[in-house]
């Protein structure tokens, strides 16, 4: 079963939000994560797919069938909402068995299937409890079991982890991907948490102001964002406006930066993207860069070198995120190195040239 959006457009009467001309496809068993800031239109996408609204243009296909005019009740999708929305007057088992009851599955069979679903989410013993007695993470699991027990055509997850605390969230990510793979079901997961997206997705769709900016696997989205909006939203980024002066040189507020700009015309306005982990600290003792990937660099190639003052130094455990003030600009870097930092180097290969 697959999900497909063909040139889908929806505009709200207020003129704000909505979607313009979205096309994407989610394959069988694929986990597509839709990300974007709030108000970007990602919730609209879910509502259109769920059947709470109909697109004004374009079409949505589930398993190859146009679902225009099919009500939410008959779309046969499994949806997990942010609020879980378990039914408080039913036990956990009754909650999970409810969609089967609606499908007129016999009593014994639906209890059996609900028990299996509950076991898969690791709550085998919670069947007789009321949802109100469960923790947030457990309620989340019940909601997931309830959305999958009737083998829906596709699974939609609407910010399912945003109400959980940080520690639990990472565990739930693994659980969701594990269960989603086991069910081998086309899944759309909507979130504003880019880390969640990067760690879970087969592919990520980045939506901004109702438009699909990029649809790519997590690594490609991170390493090769199509523009500054994507670059800034996914991961940390140093973004420097500049102008191409030669195929290997871009002029910026930090001076001329060595990079690969051969695809751009001389004089073109561009933005340079440098991820913080590509910024290598120069250590005071030997004056050489000592970052973790220093060995990879070819000797003799030009390298961008900056000296400055450390203004912010955030120790995050495994890494340290620091701000180095160079002239009027700030370079943010990440390193495992714990010594004094007074300068950094950036390899030309690690500088990505984006449209301005």
């Amino acid at each position: 079963m697959t999900i497909r959006f063909d040139n889908v457009t929806y505009r709200y009467a207020t003129g704000k939000g909505g979607l313009s001309d979205i096309s994407l496809e989610v394959g069988k068993g694929e986990l597509l994560v839709v990300i974007g800031p709030s108000g970007s239109g990602k919730s609209t996408l879910l509502k259109l797919l769920a059947g709470f609204m109909e697109p004004q243009a374009g079409r949505i296909l589930i398993a190859g069938q146009d679902i225009r005019g099919v009500s939410a009740q008959h779309r046969d999708l499994g949806i997990v909402f942010q609020s879980y929305a378990l039914f408080p007057h039913m036990t956990v088992l009754e909650n999970i068995a409810y969609p089967l009851k609606l499908r007129r599955v016999g009593r014994d069979e639906r209890i059996e299937r609900a028990r299996n679903a509950l076991r898969e989410v690791g709550l085998a013993n919670a069947g007789d409890r009321l949802p109100g007695t469960l923790s947030g993470g457990q309620q989340q699991r019940v909601a997931l079991a309830r959305a999958l027990v009737y083998k829906p055509k596709a699974l939609l997850l609407d910010e399912p982890l945003s109400a959980l605390d940080a520690g639990l969230r990472t565990d739930m990510r693994d659980l969701i991907t594990h269960i989603q793979r086991a069910a081998n079901i086309a899944t759309i997961h909507v979130t504003h948490d880019q880390e969640e997206a990067l760690s879970m997705a087969d592919r990520i769709a980045m939506i901004h102001e109702g438009r699909l900016l990029q649809l790519a696997p997590p690594r490609e989205l991170y390493d090769a964002p199509v523009d500054t909006t994507v670059a800034a939203f996914v991961g940390k980024a140093n973004l420097w406006p500049g102008r191409v002066v030669s195929p290997t040189l871009v002029a910026t507020a930090f001076g001329n930066i060595e990079c690969v700009a051969s695809a751009w015309q001389i004089g073109a306005a561009v933005t340079l993207l440098i991820r913080p982990e590509a910024v290598m600290p120069i250590t005071d003792d030997d004056g050489q860069g000592k970052g973790p990937r220093q060995e990879d660099k070819q000797p003799g190639r030009p390298i961008n070198r900056f000296n400055g003052t450390l203004t912010q130094d955030r120790f995050l455990g495994a890494v340290r995120r620091y701000d180095l003030v160079v002239g009027d600009g700030v370079i943010t870097g990440e390193t495992g190195y714990r010594g004094i930092i007074s300068g950094v180097t950036i390899s030309p290969d690690d500088v990505r040239v984006l449209p301005a």
Binding site: G51, Q73, D76, I79, L102, G132
Partner: protein, 261 residues
């Protein structure tokens, strides 16, 4: 704070306590407290045909008011809650609160004017009295239900149920009604308490043979003090029963709320 609470409680309890004392006193004229002990006043109230009749009328009116409240109030509250348009929701809420805001006297006169005409000559019938009580009590039930629908997250639950494959009636039966049962109980107790003690409209609208208990009670005040006290105590007991029932319902609803949170 403690003192204020004490004084307030005293102010609230004292008249009721005095009524209770007076209902057992043989005679109570020009003295601080009555003299003698007797159960005669209660016997007299119970033996009085018009009191008995009024008591039964009151129960009838309360029962009918509750039933119609459920039949009208639940769908109405649900419709207001589900209305997509904010303006509609606001208008509906204001509209339901009108009977609370308008003085009962005004409502009563309205009833008299409309239903004493030749076209609608129904003034004095029991069912018109019931209608008056419904108009008066429905806002309280609807307000209780609407408040709880918001708090319980019915909208989200319904949305989920729809995606799980539940149609409108299935959602109403399986999700909405069970979620609202405690809320309905506490709302109905309030309706009962209001209906039992209601005097103003009843006095204006009720016919001589369909007078509810509070209206007949007024007559007792023209007779012996003890009789009036005894008759009032019976009304208080009825009202207290309803109030305690309401409190218990609200408590249950709250307990469930905690479980959910």
């Amino acid at each position: 704070m403690g003192l204020v609470t004490f004084l307030y409680t005293l102010y609230l309890i004292a008249p009721i306590a005095l009524l209770l004392v007076g209902s057992f006193g043989t005679s109570w004229t020009n003295s601080l407290l009555p003299t003698g002990f007797t159960l005669d006043w209660y016997r007299e109230v119970i033996g009085d045909a018009s009191f008995r009749r009024a008591f039964m009328t009151s129960l009838e009116v309360v029962a009918a008011t509750c039933v119609v409240n459920v039949v009208l109030g639940v769908p109405f509250a649900y419709a207001v809650f589900s209305a997509a348009n904010r303006g509609v929701r606001l208008a509906a809420r204001i509209f339901t609160l009108l009977p609370v805001a308008v003085p009962e006297l005004v409502l009563g006169f309205g009833f008299i004017i409309v239903f004493s005409s030749d076209y609608l000559p129904w003034l004095g019938t029991t069912w018109l009295l019931i209608c008056a009580h419904i108009v008066l009590t429905l806002p309280y039930l609807v307000a209780t239900l609407l408040g709880d629908m918001d708090r319980l997250g019915i909208a989200d639950m319904e949305k989920v149920a729809e995606t799980l494959g539940a149609g409108f009636w299935q959602r109403f039966r399986d999700i909405v009604l069970p979620s609202l049962r405690y809320s309905l109980l506490s709302g109905l107790m309030m309706v009962t308490a209001i209906s039992i003690g209601e005097f103003q409209i009843s006095n204006l609208v009720a016919g001589f043979l369909s007078r509810p208990y509070p209206v007949v009670l007024l007559q007792a005040f023209y007779g012996a003090t003890g009789l009036a006290c005894a008759a009032t105590v019976i009304l208080i007991i009825l009202a207290l029963l309803a109030a305690f029932g309401g409190a218990a319902g609200a408590h249950l609803a709250q307990l469930r709320q905690k479980v959910r949170a």
